[in-house]
């Protein structure tokens, strides 16, 4: 059924909402990629089957909803019961009958399925009471986990497309631009360019044919916020794009999404079909007279295709390589026509701004960075997952209050933000409020919103090398400084971690890094030395130790590190000897075990399995001294 007018849309929305109030009994099963990998599909099917049988003779029907990602992927599959708001984690198929009988029918809680707060080991019943969720403010991710992303009615009931209706019927394009400017919205892809400024420039650009694009080519290691939005709430992206298209005067849109995100592609495709069917996309949207449609373009997974100019060339069917942007893409973008490109999260924010007004959005955040920001919190932290917070939240709050602190309560060393071209922020800056300016000042960046927490057993030289390796593989190779520079930088770091660093290496690294920053073609090349520069800035002594003393202070670099077993605590369980892949450990059962350093390959397997923490690392150079 095509919706022909605003009134029809609002009637439909009220109808959906009324139906939900009448029957609020729901079982929400998270079917995001993380939970699916943990077996959520079978759990959802089991619920559907058993609930289906019960519903046949029930008066009040129970609904099972497969939702998008709740963000708490590590604890999946997640099941939320409504209206009670109880959250069950790590649910198995065998738990399904129990949940239905005990909790749904009798309101009885099953304690072992509840989330236990790692801070005090106390089980928490309510979804909304869990510190991981309690401390969040969700705007871009407002509907994820609440709606079934494959059902447009669910999205409309949740308020999706209301902002679009307001923009199309109550506002002129200029008013939309003003509203976005009031909101102070800046690009969530990482660069933080003013969205209203970008849109205005495109609106002013000459030509009748303009494009609105969505960048869904999220490629940073450890980042998955865009994927979760595309999978869990595709309609909010479409809504934002219609609003943007109305503001700049575009009638064609593309979503560029990487093909490694199959569920995102599927849910977006379904969302487009459903929106077109209802007349929320296509010709004469809701009878407003405005035409706009969106197509999906699947990317081949090249990291560089997330760069705007490379993305547009890739969309046009050419090799995805960046080009100089002395002329902005708002004037000459896709097919050399005026184009607006925004990140998935930005588009999701736009719909909420159109619905609630710019002032509401600007009421959150800091002076120059308004609103909320999504982050993927990963690494050595107790609660990993997807979070959204007002700008200006401190790193300490994110890592300790939401993340629950460092895994195994080890000492915190650094947090890496902004993806591979971001930087590492040390403990001394834990009270840094997170916004665009502050992160840049600290030598990192907002980037894709990835946050990787690192503990004391992290070698910063090794971390820099990891990101260099990623960037070397992903450099497009068009410009000399990035292509050859990364290759040579990686070669230097290979030397460092193998204990073959020489005195001139640090100046050489710094000179090359500076040359790449200034000389590279695109922002990826210019920012490629960031992991090196930021670790050098805060952890220079580790570099010096690698070069001058051939010591890896964190005990990570294999060529520089040896392992030994402490006689005081070893109880001779032989676990280490069993785990050792090269049989370097010998010892009688219930007696001290010993590592043969001539055989040992410093893999660390023994340390990982020792129940009494009796394995420790020490610099390999000490072995040499003993020989001397």
């Amino acid at each position: 059924m095509r919706i022909e007018s605003r009134e029809q849309f609002e009637t439909l929305q009220e109808k959906i909402r009324a139906a939900e109030t009448d029957n609020g009994n729901r079982i929400l099963v998270c079917c995001g990629t993380g939970c699916l990998a943990n077996g959520a599909k079978k759990v959802a099917e089991a619920f559907a089957e058993q609930v289906g049988k019960r519903n046949m003779d029930a008066e009040v029907k129970l609904l099972v909803k497969n939702t998008g990602c709740h963000g708490f992927c590590e604890r999946g599959p997640l099941v939320v019961l409504q209206p009670s708001g109880v959250l069950y984690t790590r649910v198995r198929v065998s738990n399904v009958p129990q949940i239905l009988e005990k909790t749904v029918d009798n309101g009885e809680i099953i304690p072992r399925l509840l989330y236990k707060n790692p801070a005090d080991d106390v089980a928490i019943e309510q979804y909304s009471e869990i510190p991981f969720y309690k401390n969040q403010t969700r705007v871009a991710m407002r509907n994820i986990g609440r709606i079934d992303p494959t059902a447009i009615h669910d999205a409309i009931g949740a308020g999706c497309y209301s902002g679009m209706v307001r923009a199309l019927f109550d506002m002129t394009p200029e008013q939309v631009l003003d509203e976005v400017e009031t909101a102070g919205l800046r690009g969530r892809g990482g660069a933080g360019f003013g969205t209203a400024r970008k849109w205005r420039s495109c609106r002013r650009a000459e030509g009748d044919r303009k494009f609105v694009l969505c960048n869904g080519d999220e490629g940073d290691p450890g980042a998955f916020k865009d994927r979760s939005i595309m999978e869990g709430d595709p309609h909010s992206i479409l809504e934002g794009m219609v609003v943007g298209a109305w503001a700049v005067g575009a009638h064609e849109g593309f979503i560029y999404v990487r093909d490694e995100y199959p569920l995102a592609v599927l849910n977006l495709t379904l969302a487009l079909e459903q929106a077109r069917y209802l007349g929320l996309l296509g010709e004469n949207i809701l009878g407003s007279g405005f035409d706009f449609d969106i197509r999906i373009s699947r990317g081949g997974g090249a990291f560089v295709c997330g760069e705007s100019s490379a993305l547009m060339l890739s969309l046009a069917g050419k090799v995805g390589e960046p080009r100089a942007k002395y002329v902005h893409s708002t004037e000459k973008g896709l097919f050399d026509l005026p184009t607006v490109l925004n990140n998935v999260e930005t588009w999701a924010d736009v719909g909420a701004i159109a619905a609630n007004g710019g002032a509401w959005f600007a009421g959150m955040g800091t002076n120059k960075s308004k609103g909320t920001k999504a982050f993927s919190l990963v690494g050595k932290v107790k609660n990993t997952g997807l979070i959204e917070l007002p700008m200006g939240t401190t790193l300490r709050h994110i890592i300790y209050d939401i993340g629950g602190g460092v895994l195994n309560d080890r000492p915190f060393k650094a947090v890496q933000t902004g993806g591979p071209s971001g930087g590492c922020i040390p403990e001394s800056l834990l009270d840094l409020p997170v916004d665009y300016e502050k992160l840049t000042e600290a030598g990192s960046m907002m980037g894709s919103g990835g946050m990787i927490v690192m503990d004391d057993r992290t070698c910063m030289v090794d971390v820099a090398r990891y990101f260099l390796k990623f960037l070397t593989e992903e450099s497009c190779g068009k410009c000399t400084p990035c292509r050859e520079g990364l290759k040579q930088m990686l070669a230097i770091f290979d030397r460092l971690v193998e204990g073959e660093g020489v005195a001139g290496d640090l100046p050489l690294i710094e000179r090359l890094a500076a040359g790449m920053q200034v000389g590279s073609l695109c922002e990826l090349g210019k920012s490629a030395p960031n992991p090196v520069i930021s670790t050098l800035r805060y952890f220079r002594d580790e570099y010096v130790a690698h070069i001058e003393d051939h010591v890896c202070t964190a005990g990570i670099c294999k060529e520089l590190t040896a392992y030994r077993i402490l006689p005081e605590t070893c109880d001779g369980c032989a676990g280490c000897a069993k785990a050792c892949p090269v049989d370097a450990i010998t010892g009688e059962r219930h007696a001290l075990h010993v590592i043969d350093h001539d055989i040992c390959i410093s893999c660390g397997a023994c340390m990982g399995v020792c129940p009494t923490d009796s394995v420790e690392t020490f610099p390999k150079v000490e072995l040499m001294k003993e020989v001397v």
Partner: protein, 257 residues
């Protein structure tokens, strides 16, 4: 006609020109490797970096590539500052590591004080600097037989799937434009081979010299209407015979002395 200042000298430039063109017109030399007048600027080699500033910028300077930065009124361009020379030096140092035996790169690097690379010298020296002139000229003439393959450090110039390219017409544009003569080919009286393919040669109807491949003549015949107004006749004679024919059409000029 915008007026800009290059190294302190006032220069008038063509509307729509880039800084590199304006500088060269004014006799200011800027090194390039991936630039060719007949092709769209590309901005990949990063050698033509210059600094730009303007009167109101409070001395703030921005590094841009000369081949792609459009000229504008009042632009101040600096082509030989320490920062510019340092950036070019890093680029040439890196290229010398890639191509340690390539005469052109050795000469250019030497001009920036790099006699030996600071980095790890390529254990398998190559002459290809990945300037992409070959692939761009091939695109430009409408053939697109070769392209860059792979990315990053593994990037190379290659025909699709490393097989002899079906689209190639053996015109040699790629080999001729290559600044380091990296692309090998052979031409005899009857055949030419390049990129693993053999091409039949056509002979000049006048002097009999093998001057063009049959595939090239056919390509131009097929695409003549779209891309060029050159008549089919054009390919019957070699360049020097065509010149002679043209010259013979001029009326005899009376000797003055």
């Amino acid at each position: 006609m915008p007026t800009l200042t290059i190294n302190g000298k006032k220069v008038q430039s063509r509307e729509g020109a880039y800084v590199l063109e304006a500088a060269r017109q004014a006799g200011v030399e800027i090194p390039t490797l991936c630039h060719f007048e007949g092709l769209e600027p590309w901005g990949g080699c990063r050698l033509c970096q210059v600094q730009i500033t303007k009167d109101g910028w409070d001395g703030w300077k921005k590094m841009v590539v000369g081949c792609m930065f459009p000229v504008e009124e009042g632009l101040i361009v600096l082509t030989e500052t320490d920062e510019v020379r340092e950036t070019r030096r890093v680029v040439l140092d890196l290229l010398l590591a890639r191509c340690p035996d390539t005469p052109l790169i050795r000469t250019m690097a030497k001009e920036y004080g790099v006699e030996r690379t600071s980095y790890v010298s390529n254990p398998e020296p190559t002459d290809c600097i990945l300037c992409s002139l070959c692939t761009r000229v091939c695109d430009h003439i409408g053939v697109s037989a070769i392209s860059t393959a792979d990315r990053g450090a593994g990037k190379e110039i290659a025909p699709p799937f490393h097989e002899p390219p079906a689209a190639c017409i053996g015109c040699l544009a790629c080999a001729e434009i290559c600044p380091t003569d990296f692309i090998p080919y052979t031409t005899s009286h009857t055949t030419r081979s390049i990129w693993g393919r053999e091409f039949e040669m056509l002979r000049c109807e006048d002097c009999g010299r093998a001057h063009i491949t049959k595939a090239q003549a056919e390509h131009h015949a097929a695409n003549r209407a779209e891309t060029t107004d050159v008549p089919q006749e054009w390919f019957r004679y070699c360049d020097s015979c065509k010149r002679k024919q043209q010259a013979s059409r001029f009326p005899a000029v009376p000797q003055l002395v």
